[in-house]
Symmetry: C2
């Protein structure tokens, strides 16, 4: 038999999904359910904690426990990197996403800091540098309105970006066209990419920064960007609240028996 707290949680989850409690609605208070005989305070609290871990509600002291607004998944496809967007106009990828999904763009929804740091292991490997070599890190926290959705940190080799707008201390996105445009202007036109995704438990710093609810996971995205001759010009690491995104990739079925390797 399922524990009492699990049964209560399931019953409430069912009511939420049925719409008895709509987004923003307040769930009964813990003490009320205790009075109604749902169990002791710890038991009811365990049920509420489970609902929070499942992403259905958020609890906060003083306020109460309310049903979360389930923002539809934001779908990220490779079209967000379209050269036409950042080379021929002044859009940058994250703005293009916003435009495509009909959301308003505000300049302050992205903050960034640029600094020279020792390369973390994954970055060093992607760039073919010894671990700890100096690289420029451009860290952004991307928000949608007031809600942070993901962090994105791009790592560049100093010789590629020194003297460009990327290392310029001016605030806001890296200027007209974003980071890819800056690299393009510096003679490094990006050509192909590799993205790797995996899910993991957030660090406590990430829970704060991305305002994650208890038990919510993150998806880490590693993007390596190459020029046509195979030079790595950027390695970016993004940390996304797992509930808010979906990633889509289109590709041809490979055929190694034909033409050996496909020209990249």
């Amino acid at each position: 038999m399922a524990p009492k707290w699990r049964e209560l949680a399931d019953r409430l989850a069912e009511q939420i999904r049925r719409g008895d409690y709509g987004p923003g609605a307040q769930l009964p208070q813990i003490r009320d359910l205790v009075e109604q005989g749902e169990g002791s305070k710890s038991t009811v609290h365990a049920a509420y904690k489970a609902l929070e871990a499942e992403g259905l509600v958020t609890s906060s002291r003083g306020h109460g426990t309310v049903v979360r607004h389930q923002a539809p998944l934001k779908r990220l496809g490779i079209a967000r990197y379209d050269k036409a967007k950042w080379r021929d106009s002044d859009e940058v990828a994250f703005i293009a996403d916003r435009v495509a999904s009909g959301r308003a763009y505000k300049r302050d929804e992205q903050t960034q800091t640029v600094s020279l740091v020792p390369a973390p292991a994954a970055v060093a490997e992607a760039h073919g540098l010894p671990e700890g070599a100096s690289v420029y890190a451009r860290a952004r926290l991307v928000k949608e309105g007031t809600q942070p959705t993901h962090t994105l940190t791009s790592y560049y080799r100093p010789e590629h970006v020194e003297g460009t707008r990327i290392v310029d201390p001016a605030p806001g996105p890296a200027g007209r066209g974003g980071g890819f445009r800056v690299l393009y202007d510096a003679g490094y036109e990006i050509d192909h990419m590799q993205e790797t995704l995996f899910a993991r438990v957030p660090t406590s710093a990430e829970i704060q920064l991305l305002q994650l609810s208890a038990g919510e996971w993150v998806v880490e995205l590693h993007r390596t960007t190459f020029t046509a001759d195979g030079t790595v010009v950027e390695h970016a690491i993004g940390v996304h609240a797992a509930t808010r995104f979906a990633w889509t990739y289109d590709f041809d079925v490979p055929d190694s028996s034909k033409s050996g390797d496909k020209p990249k």
Copy 2:
């Protein structure tokens, strides 16, 4: 100040990462820590539950709480679909993965059932069918040794697979070359794919089936497979234990200003 259970959990997590408790080692018993003054049983239990949610340990009644073996992430790239593997030899994708990573292959590591079912919404949409239309579902549970790692269910239109080995009740993988080979023999050569990934909380059925520890998430993968003329011949939905996989995609930076749409 962090709660007492959080501090205890962090301290133990630190010791696990340092190697004080190696994989398979047993953590102190709850009652022992209570005696040592780490708090009441509930408090220590909360700490252990947190460690379990973070994927560091597994607890079970009767046994105790032991440090999990952290299997390295299995990396899935699009090379697993290489035509040379399933068309020209008798490998199937999941075996190819195994071979590539040097693991032994055993025939019984995949079980499957085939049935005619009403199409779920996502499947119907991908196939361009009305919701609830009849489709063949080929459901597999893939294991590595005794450990299940993911489920994968392929949905086919009846007119594409009727009379083929796919709907044959014979057990095991869909015969020589797998499902793609069967489609190829039936005149449907697969050409390109679209994959979509997102993370979510598992259902209770998935927790049992995939032997997930408490709080562990899953990644759902949707794969739509097309022939060269754009016909959808398969829509597959996979549910993966989130901690055990990473996905990698290589692609060219799109350029919509050149040549309109790229020929698929």
